[in-house]
């Protein structure tokens, strides 16, 4: 029946079954491919994948450990870009939501910026910021700021005016109203928005790394793909997926800890 809950055991069994099915079908497809061409590297066998794992975990001829160096490079870029984006996106959204003149002033550029596809605008960032760290940070930050700012701004507009009027009858100053009432109310929705913008941020970053990077996940994937070393590419994709999932899980955990009152439907 539609919407009828199932038992916990059933749920676990079904989840495990789906993963198992995925692994089995991969093994089957890879096996079929190797029957046709034993040298195939497009759908590597488990043995080939183990070789690939060795390649990116052990030091190469120049002593580089790919996985570690790529993780550090990509992680740094992402962390710096997202942090900057979070700070400015939040501040811009707060000011837009609280002060009508800022709202009128910033709304046109923000709504326009939000519509520019960041990967298409890569060239602009190369011209303005070169191809170093600055470029990655600027690209990610500018990419996420419009979405975050708009989320915060709309969340503030959603707050019933009664709650703001009430704050003043309780002796709040303007700053206190902004912090104690507006900020605290907007916070969980902002965390949701950050969760949603991490995906696009990774897309921007990987795309830029593919074009101009000399280290990082995007660079490695492009290089190994050119050599059809899919036994490196696939595990890297799994790492990216796992990383994204962990980050999302962490943010959800953070949200449930600091906003226990918030009923999150998107779990």
């Amino acid at each position: 029946m539609i919407g009828r809950p199932i038992s916990r055991i059933k749920r676990v069994v079904l989840s495990a079954l789906s993963v198992l099915l995925l692994l089995l079908s991969y093994t089957w497809i890879s096996h079929r491919q190797h029957q046709i061409n034993p040298q195939d590297t497009t759908i590597p066998s488990w043995g080939q994948l183990a070789e690939g794992a060795k390649k990116f975990t052990q030091p190469d001829r120049k002593g580089h450990r790919w996985l570690i160096e790529d993780s550090i490079a990509t992680g740094k870029r992402l962390a710096a870009g997202i942090s900057l984006g979070i700070i400015f996106g939040f501040l811009i959204g707060m000011f837009m939501g609280c002060i009508a003149s800022v709202e009128a002033f910033l709304q046109p550029p923000i709504s326009l910026l939000a519509k520019v596809p960041q990967t298409a605008a890569l060239a602009v960032y190369f011209v303005f910021f070169g191809t170093g760290m600055k470029m990655y940070v600027a690209m990610i930050a500018f990419g996420v700021i419009p979405a975050l700012a708009v989320t915060v701004y709309l969340a503030i507009k959603d707050i019933p005016s009664e709650m703001l009027d009430k704050a003043y009858t309780l002796g709040a100053s303007h700053f206190e109203t902004a912090y104690e009432v507006v900020f605290k109310q907007v916070l969980p929705k902002f965390i949701d928005a950050v969760r949603l913008c991490i995906g696009p941020a990774i897309v921007f970053l990987i795309a830029a790394e593919m074009v101009v990077g000399d280290v990082g996940f995007g660079y490695r994937i492009r290089l190994q793909f050119k050599l059809t070393n899919m036994n490196v590419v696939y595990p890297y994709l799994v790492f990216l997926a796992g990383f994204g999932y962990l980050l999302d899980y962490g943010l959800r955990f953070l949200q449930s800890k600091i906003c226990p009152w918030y009923q999150n439907d998107s779990k």
């Binding site: 709650m163 003043y168 309780l170 206190e176 104690e180 009432v181 109310q185």
Partner: protein
């Protein structure tokens, strides 16, 4: 029962007129409310009761005339919301991110400490916070919610939420508390419980007056339920757009004004009123306030200033 009155006014509205563009809402409205009075504000829908309440609150100051409220011991123009006036809305009175206790304690926190104090004087703030929360617990006990202090508004019933909202307003000890159809969304039984809670406050007023002290609570309650108005209030104010403005020289309605001002019977909290006995008052109100066909001229309005 002799109703004792306090000499100080908590509210003084002088010649208040209000309009939104071409829509005239209030016309030449005069009203004085004494400290300790429970005023029931009634009137046909669309007569501007809520607008009037918001004028007093200060979010919509009148276009003409003056609204003075008691602020730091003297009557001062109320042109913005302030801590001397408490408000209980029909909904959105509570902050969803705070528990019942913290919702009630919030006013003390905002009023008595500053952001800088809370950031830079951690130990001082921790001590104060405990004092505030203890006091909030006392107020929650007073409104009958001693066992729900850690619940979030979403987890509470509508009646509980309104109790918290009233405690949230009471803890500030405002000069006047405004209630905008506070029980409009509640079922009959809950409504009566909350009316009894307000009557409890009225009784505290009477006790204070009999000891020659200032009564602690002054209330204006907007309601469309006449029985509620008569039971809770000790004074009935009827606001209506139905009066003979043509006789006063207007071509179009200049807005609603006070057409009815009468004392209401006083009830004890545990006293179940015989609602049939309200009939005479209700008929009176229907005739003079609600009936568009019975128009009194300005001078005939049933207004006594209850001085």
């Amino acid at each position: 029962m002799v109703v004792k009155q306090h000499n100080n006014y908590a509210l003084d509205c002088q010649k208040v007129s209000h309009w939104f563009g071409a829509t005239k809402v209030l016309y030449d409205l005069n009203l004085k409310v004494r400290a300790g009075q429970f005023v029931s504000l009634i009137g046909p829908s669309g007569c501007g009761k809520s607008t009037f309440l918001r004028s007093i609150l200060g979010t919509h100051p009148p276009n003409q005339g003056k609204i003075l409220t008691m602020q730091n011991g003297s009557l001062i123009t109320a042109d913005r919301p302030g801590r001397d006036r408490g408000i209980v809305f029909q909904k959105y009175s509570l902050y969803p991110f705070l528990t019942a206790l913290d919702n009630v304690a919030l006013g003390l926190k905002l009023d008595q400490t500053s952001s800088l104090f809370r950031i830079f004087n951690w130990s001082g703030w921790a001590k104060k916070r405990k004092v505030f929360r203890d006091r909030a617990a006392v107020f929650l006990e007073k409104v009958g919610l001693g066992n729900a202090i850690n619940m979030y508004p979403d987890q509470m019933s509508g009646g509980m939420q309104q109790r918290v909202a009233i405690a949230q307003a009471l803890i500030m000890e405002p000069e006047i508390i405004l209630l905008d159809e506070p029980f409009g969304a509640l079922d009959e039984a809950t409504r009566e419980e909350l009316q009894e809670m307000l009557l409890q406050l009225y009784q505290e007023n009477q006790e204070a007056l009999s000891k020659n002290k200032k009564p602690p609570y002054t209330l204006i309650i907007v309601t469309h339920e006449l029985n509620e108005a008569i039971r809770v209030g000790d004074r009935l104010i009827g606001l209506s757009q139905y009066w003979d403005w043509k006789k006063s020289g207007f071509d179009v309605s200049p807005g609603a004004t006070v057409v009815y001002d009468r004392e209401a019977p006083i009830f004890k909290p545990n006293e179940r009123p015989n609602y049939e006995s309200f009939d005479i008052i209700r008929k009176d109100i229907r005739k003079y306030v609600y009936n568009p066909d019975i128009l009194q001229s300005r001078n005939d309005h049933l207004v006594n200033d209850l001085v």
